[in-house]
């Protein structure tokens, strides 16, 4: 914090100053969001300091809390990439939830189709590939509509969410329905052999590794390859990129495919490690929370890992807020909204903080 106020910040090299600013502003925004959220809790009749304490304890207080947090962070890392990757090309894709559902659907259909005929590792691989392809094609559709028909990708990807959920509901009510499972309309269960197991010594499933690897690959792809460079160039100036001969259409399709496949993989992780069968529980807001993660991490896949863990912790604390403070479960959603708004507001402060002014 001291850096922001000290006039010496302006003495640092420009690159450094911008980097410090890029870390400092989101932190300040998070603090402001915490203060506003505290005021909100106080209005609702809860002690803000006690609420902060509960969130911290339920999210990062003990090893078991950390495990809850990381289990939730895994799908968030993957769904965030669905917004973060296309964002580098200047596209605002919010079809994360739909791609997750379609990925989960593809994974379940694959697992039920293959059954126990193949070794579990191969079945899991097949599920993952099916989810990657299905989720990828789903979002690529939004990218293709954007490129070939000029359809706004934000709206089309959002409509695709509802269509994906309707498709899943239709299938679990009809062809895929397990008549012996009465709690709610669900598909048959994935054979236990093929479940995605836990990392030894913990309750955390292997999906966390999927998420981490996907974020690292995405970072390398965007920052360290010519493909990523082309995508970023097209994102900052489409016309210049076209003049330079970059295949903007193919880039759009490829980046949308990659983003969608990450969210699809999140669906596979959720059905293979958590839900074990397909039903409405798969629609649990990981997609929409992923949008928040992508924006807060400024579409940087490595920052996504950190932000996903932070938000995973907040999601993990939803239960305790209800039990200990009498706050409804939507409190977590309100907090997410406040954080998102504060982060966006902080964007307008670039180059305006004392010590960071330009010129």
């Amino acid at each position: 914090m001291a850096i922001a106020q000290s006039p010496s910040a302006s003495g640092l090299p420009y690159r450094w100053r911008r980097s410090i600013e890029a870390v400092l502003l989101p932190i300040l925004a998070l603090l402001v969001a915490l203060i506003i959220f505290g005021g909100f809790c106080a209005l609702a009749g809860a002690n803000p300091l006690a609420v902060y304490g509960s969130i911290y304890k339920a999210a990062f207080g003990r090893w078991s809390a950390w495990q809850n947090t990381l289990i939730r962070a895994a799908p968030l890392m993957l769904t965030a990439l669905c917004t973060a990757l296309p964002a580098r090309l200047g596209l605002v894709i919010i079809g994360n939830e739909g791609a997750l559902v379609i990925g989960g659907l593809a994974a379940v259909v694959t697992a039920l189709g293959v059954g126990t005929a193949l070794p579990p590792l191969l079945v899991q691989l097949a599920m993952a590939v099916a989810a990657l392809v299905a989720g990828g094609l789903w979002i690529m559709l939004a990218g293709a509509l954007r490129h070939y028909r000029g359809v706004n990708e934000t709206i089309s990807s959002l409509l695709l969410n509802y269509i994906a959920i309707a498709l899943m509901n239709h299938l679990v009510e009809g062809p895929l329905r397990d008549p012996n499972f009465v709690t709610k309309p669900s598909s048959y269960e994935i054979a236990e052999l093929n479940w995605l197991g836990e990392i030894p010594g913990s309750r955390i499933h292997w999906g966390l590794l999927y998420g981490l690897v996907a974020c690292v690959i995405a970072y390398g792809l965007i920052q360290r390859t010519s493909f990523g460079f082309a995508a970023r160039a097209a994102g900052s100036n489409v016309r210049a990129a076209r003049m330079a001969g970059l295949p903007v259409g193919q880039l759009t399709l490829a980046v949308c495919f990659l983003g969608g496949s990450a969210a699809g993989l999140a669906g596979m992780v959720e059905v293979a490690a958590v839900q074990k069968r397909l039903n409405e529980s798969l629609v649990s807001n990981y997609g929409y929370a992923g949008i928040l993660v992508a924006f807060v991490s400024r579409h940087n896949p490595l920052a996504t890992v950190l932000v996903a863990i932070l938000l995973g912790g907040i999601l993990a604390s939803g239960g305790i807020l209800q039990r200990s403070h009498g706050l409804p479960d939507a409190t977590v959603l309100v907090f997410q909204g406040i954080v998102f708004l504060c982060i966006l507001a902080s964007d307008s402060f670039y180059g305006r903080l004392p010590g960071f002014r330009e010129g």
């Binding site: 706050l327 409804p328 939507a330 309100v334 997410q336 909204g337 998102f340 507001a345």
Partner: protein, 315 residues
Amino acid sequence: MAAEALGWWGVPLGIIAGTLRGSAPFLFVSLGECITEKSGKINLGLEGTLLMGAMSAYAVSYLAQGWLGPVWSPWLGVLAAGLSGTLLGLIHGWLAQQPRVNDVAVGIAMIIFGSGLAFFLGKPFIQPQAPPLPTFEWGSWSQLPQMRAALRVSPLFLLGVAIAPLLQWFFRATRWGLQIRAVGDSPQAARAMGISVFKVRLASIVAGSFLAGIGGACLSLYYPGVWTERISSGQGLMAVALVIFARWNPIQCLWASLLFGGAQAIGPAFQSVGIDSYYYLFNAAPYILTLLIMILTCSPQRTLAGSPGALGQDD
């Protein structure tokens, strides 16, 4: 008995009934989005506004019934819905106009914030029954209960139908309407004329959110007439597509809303005659319809006729 005699005629009747019932929220939200977009800004957050409107209308109608009686308390609820929309609109209108801030991202944040707030504050009102808005019983001549239900028209719907041409006139013939269009088409020119772009856009966004809030009241106080967390299923977002389809023309917003309300009624209408194996797919009809309309009407080469010049651009 009459119901069984109706047979397959139940389907078109059900769709007409659903159109009259279900198009009111579309109408208000799309007119609100129309005002907003005419000024050159997009508000995706109207989904959150719709939910807040639905919740506040229901809560106020419930809480005020002892004090105002069941006839007037829903109207106070409608006002509360508009006011809650106004508040969310102020946040959106201010934030979306800050430098380097993307209005689409603000919209997504406002969806999360608005729906979170609505679920948070609305938790205690999920169980109790609030007095709904009175309706006009235009079907009382008929023996058929379906016909009566179909022609039970909400005054809010009629209000929306009246606002559409009024808004058309407002944009075409009034000083304020001209200012909004000028700001939406060319902020630079508007600034040169001495118009405050910030104020005009803020006012347009707030007015649009006010209408969207009332759209929420249609959901909770008329049809389906309850408050649940699933009461809005993307109507606030479809409104954005609907306005594009209507080419930013308030009268065409009315026709488009009727079309979307009808599409929404297909699933329940078929279910009412016993066909429910494709229930979920029929329920996806409005979304598929929106997507198809956008595919057919958009073009990568040119901007759409009627589109405000500065829409979606940083100034």
